[in-house]
């Protein structure tokens, strides 16, 4: 055998994820990646093929973590409307966690910055969208069976609407940093279910 790694690959991806999260793909230099991971360039390029490759791993991890949280909520015992309102609230809280520099969503950032020029990333985003759609749609259909949501409504359309609202909240938060405004938007959206 030979010399073992001095670092944990998962932790490195995690650190890279946070960097891309706050600065986007282009906004994060390889130097930045070295600093946040604490690794040297060689270690990074030995472990990951390229910046692009590391970004892919970081994006996948981001989606994994976020969707785990979403699924956990959507499969909870709460009434549907409350599930969805809670998800909206999580988004709002996350956007305001740190200052206007902080928040943001890697998926949204990637959708506007990278997706148009990179088919593979676009495919990843599309697949991730479908995952979120299915999870939310299932919860909505359960709600329809419970009588919380009208049965004649199209569950898929409502799920798309919920996803679009989340994105809308995130963009609005970048421009209008007032919690109360976003909460009123969330309330209005829930009333459309």
């Amino acid at each position: 055998m030979a010399r073992p790694r001095e670092f944990d690959e998962v932790r490195a991806v995690d650190a890279a994820m946070r960097a891309f999260w706050t600065a986007g793909y282009e906004g994060t230099s390889t130097q930045d990646l070295c600093e946040v991971t604490g690794l040297g360039r060689s270690s990074i390029y030995n472990t990951f093929k390229s910046k692009r490759d590391l970004f892919g791993r970081a994006l996948a991890r981001y989606m994994e973590v976020k969707n785990a949280g979403l699924s956990e909520l959507m499969e909870s015992g709460l009434p549907v409307r409350q599930k969805i309102r809670t998800q909206f609230q999580r988004v709002i809280d996350e956007e305001f966690e740190r200052g206007p520099e902080g928040g943001g969503c890697l998926v949204v950032h990637t959708a506007v910055e990278v997706a148009a020029r990179d088919r593979e990333v676009a495919g990843d985003l599309a697949r991730d969208y479908q995952v979120r759609l299915a999870v939310i749609r299932t919860a909505i259909e359960a709600g329809q069976r419970d009588g919380d949501i009208a049965r004649d409504k199209d569950s898929a359309a409502l799920a798309h609407f919920v996803i679009a609202t989340i994105a809308g909240l995130r963009i609005s938060a970048r421009v209008t940093p007032q919690r109360s405004v976003l909460e009123s938007v969330a309330d209005a959206a829930v009333s459309a279910l």
Copy 2:
């Protein structure tokens, strides 16, 4: 006097606007700007202080044009719900005009790419948001007087909701390029008014 300009400053800003529109601030190089405007570097740096300055001009022009269209629609004689549904439709159509590479919105792109690091731009976006808010809110209040929208609803909250929905449509369009999906989202949103 001396040699006159060979180009029209407004046309140059317009060309720059289109470039930033499709590629964003960082994604548009000064070389790109030379090509789309047809000007040399000297002419650009003589007329505008910097890339950043030209971007500011381009962004302002974008807002001006877009808000003119919005105002015209909101001040038309249509019923409110139809005004808003039409605006949603315009956004959807615009996003699908060219391929997934094409569409996009300079304001959204700017909000996620540069607003977090540039206070002045963030201020411009915030001001623009207020303009759109006022225009939409006024239309909603007119609708309330006409009895098209319940009078006990908060017109400002609904206007914020409309703006967030537009942003949500735009982000969704980047990821899920199916017109029918976005149109169902638009319908769902209108039903919340």
